[in-house]
Amino acid sequence: MNEHQQTLFEFMGQQADKLAVQTLQHIGLTFISLFIAVLIGLPLGIFITRKVKLSGPVLGIAGILQTIPSIALLGFMIPVLGIGAKPAIVALLLYALLPIIRNTYTGITGVDASVKEAAVAMGMNKWQVLFKVELPLAMPVILAGIRTATVINVGVATLASYIAAGGLGEFIFGGISLNNTNMILAGAIPAALLAIIFDFLLSRLQKLNFKKISKGTYAMPVLLMLLSSFYFIPSAYGGKLTAGFTPEFMGRQDGNLGLESKYGLKIHTIVISDAVMYKAAFEKQLDVISGYSTDGRLKAYDLVVLDDDKGIFPPYYAAPIVREESLKKFPDLEKALNLLSGKINDSVMTELNYRTDYLHQSPERVAKDFLEAHKLYKPSREGSAGIIRIGSKIFGEQYILANMYSMLIKGYTNYDVATKTGLGGTKICFDALTNDQIDFYPEYTGTGLLAILQASPKTVTEVTKSKDSTYNYVQREFEKRYQVKWLKPIGFNNAYALMMRRQQAKSFNIKTISNLKRYLNSK
């Protein structure tokens, strides 16, 4: 990676291809959904001016749809429509409905009653009244609604990247995960510009005189279709297999960048959120995903981890990290914590995660079952020689580990335990540790190396050659910098990994990432 601070323009220049694709996708998504929303909303708005009794319920329902948080709405769509463009378009269209229906209704009911009466009295039939009088006169208000809907859609379309529908959200959310300001801005600035430009263009359209607008109305659908088609331009290319990577994985050296530079892996990739990725792989919408090697869903969806034969994913061996002061204060602590060392390998951890994440068993029960099976469990001594504060990050695996440690400490020492689970991400947890809010928590060597120590690329390449050299490096550095001690590793490695469906990997004979590349390059 470059050592000097990259400017926004350098970033945009470097990523121009992706930026163009995402922008086109973004425009496409916005306008496909807008187009459909106009097709539905306009007639519906007209309809409720004729059946005024229905206007309350219809506007009410459209209003409720509007209040559903966008991410939740996208979430609701996945079970019904899967991932990709479909649910994103439906969600966007639902958001666009309210302003269009409401403004159509308001616009038409707002037409001067005496003008309408004159139209009828001249002998116009109801369609002539609608098309020659009501719609042209309501058009500025209707256009204002479409304008609002467009701006809303440009905004909400950023969320489409969560469900693999693309758009500028890929940069925005990737940038947030990676704490890369340039990447965030590379997505956010074009998105804001799109909103401003479309708003401006529509405001011009609104200000044209009545006559021209009625002709402009015919041009509108054509224009909308044209803009909608943008979405399909980028997706015209494809590949044998489709990969779904998280925005974070896309931008990491120990992620997609490494896959491209070290393996030369070129695969049709879509960006998707961690939450739906595993299921999408199971449902054959994705073939290769970026996951965590001990994730319970690996087992739930029968996926296999591809061997990282060139070692681009640094090891993420888990071990408790403890304040040195605490070790002095509680002399029996280290021994109790080391009871777990070497006891849990990858598949065991996957199994445990599977029980909490997928079977929804409580972390406490899973922890106790495990300790009992390994004859480590002892009932609590109800000790009172001091309180040890255990921290954990906010995901299942950490909860299980925290529970195990809690039971071990209570069973083997005279200390009592206070657990502070759910301390958000790495930064919050580690800050709590260094500020004497907790005594220890389980951490991963890779996280220590990359996120906490923020080692230079050179050091990373050097020390990630083996799991021991990584462990030794972080142990040494943590002690020096933070007076925090890494105890013995628990045994499992929760690293980034590429995974595939077992069935597919077997039939294509893919075991390693190199195998995958060879398969992709064949034919």
Partner: protein, 320 residues
């Protein structure tokens, strides 16, 4: 001829129009007069089926209008609204051409007919391509009238056509209205709450109250033979002026002094009302005016003679 036969309209529990009947002769100008809410506008709108009646029938030239398609019926009836109802997104020319377009006239015919009406209504040709919002209230009302007259329909319905105009503009338009030859050929039903206007423009007046017709007749009949206190009360304001407007010179013909000698020059027609005759004294400054009736007989009267005849006439009416 329009025949309204026992027509009623009920809105929920309210009887807006309660089984009323009347007839309008060809080329007659009938005024539906009354306060707001008396049912006069509802009655008018039932004639071109903007409102469908709850009961009763309406015939235009002996054809039941409820047996015709409403759109077709409406294209044969001119309609003028109080707030003119011009289309703000249409130019003056387009507004006037609405009905011809519905009737699929060819462009030439529409254009020449528009030009003819514009001239008759004293509208400058340069207005043709401006939007109606840029015109004054009086001009807009004239265009509303042109739009209603374009296809030369035999029947014209007018809903308080001059209600939104100021007094000066209104009295000017009244004069033009009376002078317009197009309108003389039409059967007109006009709604107004303005007694002066009713007396000035109406051949006959139907005075309505609470959905019923209280009295119908010529202005003079209403004035001199009111059927009840309501009619009397309604015509109480500016009564003298109403009387001057209700009585025509030919009504007084017998009471005016015999012709002394034939005079040369301008004579007033005996169809004009006394109000107009009195105005002509004022404007001409002459001692006497010369009047000619439809048989060509001529009379010469002074102001005093005219007033004397009028009071004689009035006394006679009261005692009938």
């Amino acid at each position: 001829m329009i025949k309204v036969d026992g027509i009623s309209k009920q809105f929920g529990k309210v009887k807006a129009v309660d089984a009323i009947s009347f007839e309008v002769q060809e080329q007659e100008n009938l005024i539906l007069l009354g306060t707001s809410g008396c049912g006069k506008t509802t009655t008018l709108k039932m004639i071109n089926r903007l409102i469908e009646p709850t009961a009763g029938n309406i015939y235009i030239n002996n054809k039941n209008i409820f047996e015709q398609q409403p759109e077709v019926l409406r294209r044969s009836i001119g309609y003028v609204l109080q707030n003119n109802g011009l289309f703000p997104h249409y130019t003056v020319a387009e507004n006037i051409a609405i009905v011809p377009q519905l009737l699929k006239w060819d462009k030439k015919k529409t254009e020449s007919r528009t030009a003819e009406l514009m001239e008759k209504l004293h509208l400058d040709k340069s207005y043709l391509h401006v939007y109606t919002g840029e015109l004054s209230g009086g001009q807009q009302q004239r265009i509303g009238l042109a739009r209603a007259l374009i296809s030369d329909p035999p029947v014209l319905l007018m809903d308080e056509p001059f209600g939104s105009l100021d007094n000066v503009t209104r009295s000017n338009i009244h004069k033009e209205f009376k002078a317009l030859d197009e309108l003389k050929r039409k059967t007109i039903i006009m709604v107004t709450h303005d007694v002066q206007e009713a007396f000035e423009l109406g051949d006959r007046i139907c005075l309505m109250d609470k959905g019923k017709i209280v009295q119908s007749g010529t202005p003079a009949e209403l004035l001199f033979n009111p059927v009840n206190e309501f009619v009397k009360g309604f015509l109480k304001d500016q009564r003298l002026q109403l009387e001057f407007k209700a009585v025509k010179l030919h009504d007084l013909w017998e009471l005016l002094p015999q012709l002394l000698k034939k005079t040369e020059g301008r004579s007033l027609s005996s169809v004009i009302d006394i109000w107009t005759a009195l105005e002509s004294f004022k404007f001409s400054g002459e001692e006497s005016i010369s009047i000619i009736n439809h048989e060509g007989d001529q009379k010469q009267v002074s102001f005093e003679q005219l007033m004397a005849a009028f009071y004689q006439y009035k006394n006679k009416q009261g005692h009938e």
